[in-house]
């Protein structure tokens, strides 16, 4: 954070529009999963119209005093007609219960999916929820000469998220999208320090798992005339705001041209102590290839880094994991990969597990449970083979690969089974 102190007053970002947020320069990790080397900011905004005042988002609870001091420098509580909640995560809604007490007449505008979160948020206060209005794309609020128009942009990065566009001024209040954890009291992107790394780091850790939703949001945002982007964290983007929209489109688009675009892709990861699980992997891969329409890649986890594997996994249609069982568990490199997937979207991908074992062979079932926990589908029961696979067992591996390929390509034959036969 720059050394000069920010006053307690609001900062004008456009005529009649003020930043009333708070700076948190000493925060060093956010939500446990993100490092914040120079802290963060919680951006909240006030928009004044002829007939009312709108507050857009609030701040983390322990910074409520800063927020209220700045708010009081530009508006009275009885002037507040509108509270917009673009995102209800506690770092943006922490001061909301108190704001509702001070401005009980205000109507709250939020996305449909935010309603239950609002109720959960206000539970401890025991107070009656305020009047709230669920809104979606193109719904508007007239502040008198100024119009707030909503954009339904869910999953950026919670189900409740939305953006709010100040039509006459071309200002876009975006919640977490286009934000970053970067604390600098100069506030604006053309005056703060170099925050490019923070901007991309934030995308990579917060938005990347939702890249399809990012692209949906960009499609709504790109046609707008935008003079300034006001995110809920980090610098306010008043210089070349459209560049940041373009950058988000680039970040959310697959990095390399997909040579296998007309085929499904199956990535087989394995690790092997004595070559038995490796032989299983090779047979599985050969079986999958034999079906046609599936491009198979084989990777030994001993020869790679988790970041590369994460990229591969994000792009794959199907994933098979092979691990021996050592001390009644899958081995650590498998868990390292399977615990590093929170930054990509793997929901609904096809998953499978296999492995050789000596005594009890727990690894396969444990991996399958993890794949299901990651919201992957596991339609084919995994394969456990005791020690050295013989020709018949390698044929079973091949068959597993064929079944996976059929599921990927929609060639699976209809089956009828009784529930009693399911494990």
């Amino acid at each position: 954070m720059a050394a000069a102190a920010l006053t307690d007053r609001a900062v004008e970002i456009a005529p009649g529009v003020h930043w009333v947020g708070a700076l948190d320069p000493h925060l060093r990790s956010f939500d446990i999963i993100l490092k914040t080397a120079n802290g963060t900011s919680y951006n909240s905004y006030v928009v004044r119209g002829e007939n009312g005042v709108a507050i857009i988002d609030t701040v983390k609870e322990n910074f409520a005093d800063d927020f209220f001091r700045r708010l009081e420098s530009v508006a009275r509580y009885d002037e507040i007609t509108t509270i917009v909640l673009n995102h209800l995560e506690p770092d943006h809604s922490g001061a909301l219960p108190e704001l509702l007490k001070r401005a009980p007449q205000a109507k709250v505008y939020l996305s449909s999916r935010a309603q239950m979160m609002l109720k959960a948020l206000l539970k401890p206060s025991g107070e009656k929820p305020p009047e709230y209005i669920p809104v979606t794309t193109d719904d508007e609020v007239d502040l008198g000469g100024r119009t707030l128009r909503f954009l339904h942009t869910p999953y950026l990065h919670w189900p409740d998220t939305q953006c709010t566009y100040l039509v006459e001024d071309g200002l876009l209040f975006t919640g977490d999208i286009f934000g970053c954890h970067f604390c600098d009291n100069r506030l604006f992107n053309d005056t703060v320090g170099d925050f490019r790394f923070s901007f991309e780091y934030y995308y990579a850790h917060i938005m990347r798992p939702f890249r399809e939703y990012v692209l949906d949001a960009i499609a709504l945002i790109e046609p707008l005339a935008i003079n300034l982007i006001a995110p809920a964290h980090g610098p306010i983007l008043r210089h070349a705001p459209r560049d940041y929209v373009h950058r988000y489109r680039e970040l959310a688009t697959p990095r390399l041209f997909n040579e296998a675009r007309s085929e499904k892709t199956l990535v087989v990861f394995y690790i092997s102590a004595y070559g038995n699980t490796r032989r299983m992997a090779e047979s599985l891969a050969a079986g999958a290839e034999s079906i046609g329409g599936v491009r198979v890649s084989l990777y030994d986890l001993e020869g790679g880094e988790s970041g590369i594997f994460t990229d591969l996994i994000e792009e794959a249609d199907g994933l098979a994991f092979g691990s021996p069982t050592i001390n009644a568990d899958a081995v650590k490199p498998i868990w390292d990969v399977l615990s590093s997937l929170t930054t990509v979207n793997i929901k609904g991908k096809l998953g499978a597990a296999f492995g050789s074992y000596g005594w009890s062979g727990e690894a396969v079932r444990l991996i399958e449970d993890r794949l299901r926990g990651l919201k992957m589908r596991v339609p084919v029961e995994g394969l456990r083979i005791k020690l050295v696979p013989d020709a018949g067992e390698l044929e079973a591996c091949r068959d597993l690969g064929e079944q996976l390929a059929r599921h990927l390509t929609g060639k699976v034959e209809h089956r009828e089974i009784d529930m009693a036969a399911l494990a």
């Binding site: 449909s112 999916r113 309603q115 239950m116 979606t136 189900p159 929901k347 609904g348 299901r372 919201k375 992957m376 589908r377 596991v378 339609p379 084919v380 599921h407 699976v412 034959e413 209809h414 089956r415 009828e416 089974i417 009784d418 529930m419 399911l422 494990a423």
Partner: protein, 95 residues
């Protein structure tokens, strides 16, 4: 015990189940593409399209109805963690 049939269209599997079974109890075991989050009817992760046979599912509870409404679920959709099969033939697929 009365039986019912539920077909998971995305994976081409029909399962004969006892009446009273919830979709969640079957779909994961057969590896259907319906995925789960909270498993308690709150998060809407398991939103499922009922392709046919919706009348053979027990009506949604007040809670499920509210969650479907809050999440703007289209008609003919249910939460797989809540929907209980009461008989007949039902065809489902991930939303």
């Amino acid at each position: 015990m009365p039986k019912a049939k539920v077909t998971f269209q995305d994976i081409g599997v029909t399962v004969t189940v006892p009446a009273g079974t919830r979709l969640i109890e079957v779909s994961e075991k057969v590896g259907a593409g319906i995925t789960y989050g909270c498993r308690e009817g709150e998060c809407c992760t398991c939103l499922t399209k009922i392709v046919s046979g919706g009348e053979f599912l027990a009506p949604p509870s007040i809670l499920e109805d509210q969650v479907l409404k809050d999440n703007m679920a289209p008609r003919g959709h249910r939460l797989a963690c809540q929907a209980q099969i009461i008989g007949g033939d039902i065809v489902v697929k991930p939303a």
